[in-house]
Amino acid sequence: MAGFNKVVNSYEEALAGLTDNMTIIAGGFGLCGIPEGSIAHIKKMGVSGLTVVSNNCGVDGFGLGVLLEDKQIKKMVSSYVGENALFEKQLLAGELEVELTPQGTLAEKMRAGGAGIPAFYTATGYGTPVAEGKETREFDGRGYILEESVTGDFAIVKAWKADTFGNCIYRDTAMNFNPMAATAGKITIVEVEEIVEPGAIAPSEIHTQGIFVDRVIQGTFEKRIERRVTRD
């Protein structure tokens, strides 16, 4: 009887079932709150042809950027992909496909995917290149475009703490896209700084409920800072 204990002991186990050409939804904003261990293990696995849905694609040598090194990513769905020379090179060489998606639309597409909403209307991007090929429609005299939701074969998520049931909380702005990503994976993996017992997180303070989570793993995190700015 496994019951609701979602804890796995290795990234092999956490990412079991991930194969070439799958879609991965990843949490994180820039290098903040990214699933470092899952990314490192995906690089080690060497799976390729991946579609990765994530607000950013890391930087050269860190974050999702490391999956570019062996050309594991076929397509990125992101709102912002700057700060990455290898990315630029592969894009210009036609080795990488990019679907630029406004940040709020991306967050909503993930949420909708997890919530069984196949599509929604938004004013974001109306009249811009983002609207190309999409249906448009007026509500109360204003133009909107139809955006479809996204789901992934896997979602890789970074939380602060999870209990063994998979109930998670995030720390400060390392929350960002992680809660939406967690809902949108057929298999959702959460790597955390600390695994706690059920009941250790107050029921109403849980950010991601265990029902969305399949596997929990204790991680270790470098937490690299992209832009260290102080007022000193």
């Binding site: 820039g30 894009l91 630029l100 967050a107 974001t124 290149p129 702005t173 929350m175």
Partner: protein
């Protein structure tokens, strides 16, 4: 004389009203936070999920888990809230943010804005800009009036790929404050010492100069 970046930011800050929730883009808009008038309070929203953004941290306060939308380390004020990206853009798209200030490459007389892509150069992505211009109640564009070649950035029609349509109502440049309505730019204020003729010369789109145009005051 044309305003400095900090002077543009000072003028932008005069637009804020007490109790405004404000989202500031990267660059000059961010500087505006330094010039909020002392008799009002505004609260800064950062679209990665922070309402009540504070100053940059001290060296001792730096925390990798606390960044702003520009990926810079920041702090949170007392009474701040932190939330996920979907909720953050619910605030933005849903019209709950009172003022958005952002930069632009071009703005036109119909309130269209181009700010995220120059074809031929690498596209870094629109980030949250398209959501911000689609959602905020009051959108202020800050930019230099003309580019480095002296070409106007206030056009009859944007030439670059758009960020949003019919959304810009107010523009604050190094030369002037303008409103956009009825298919024209309406000159409201000019930078100290800048002539109406210079503004006319550097404004490619239809410019309406109605009555006496005061100089900005700081």
């Amino acid at each position: 004389m044309a305003l400095s970046r900090d002077q543009i930011a000072m003028r932008v800050a005069q637009e804020f009203k007490d109790g405004d929730y404000v989202n500031l883009g990267i660059g000059i808009p961010t500087l505006a936070a330094n010039y909020v008038p002392e008799d009002i309070e505004v609260m800064l929203q950062s679209e990665n999920g922070l309402l009540g953004m504070g100053p940059y941290p001290t060296e001792a306060e730096i925390d990798a888990d606390m960044i702003n939308a520009g990926k810079e380390t920041v702090t949170a004020i007392t009474g701040a809230s932190i939330f996920n990206s979907a909720d953050s853009f619910a605030m933005i798209r849903g019209g709950h943010v009172d003022v958005t200030v952002l930069g632009a490459f071009e703005v036109d007389v119909n309130g269209n804005i181009a700010s995220w892509m120059i074809p031929g150069k690498l596209v870094k992505g629109m980030g949250g800009a398209m959501d911000l211009v689609a959602g905020a109640k009051n959108i202020i564009v800050t930019m230099t009036h003309a580019n480095k070649k002296g070409e106007s950035k206030l056009l009859a029609e944007c030439t670059l790929p758009l960020t949003g349509v019919n959304c810009i109502t107010r523009i604050i440049t190094d030369l002037a404050v303008l409103e956009v309505s009825d298919g024209a730019f309406h000159l409201k204020e000019r930078a100290p010492g800048v002539s109406i003729e210079e503004i006319q010369q550097k404004t490619a789109g239809k410019l309406i100069v109605d009555g006496d145009i005061p100089e900005m005051s700081f």
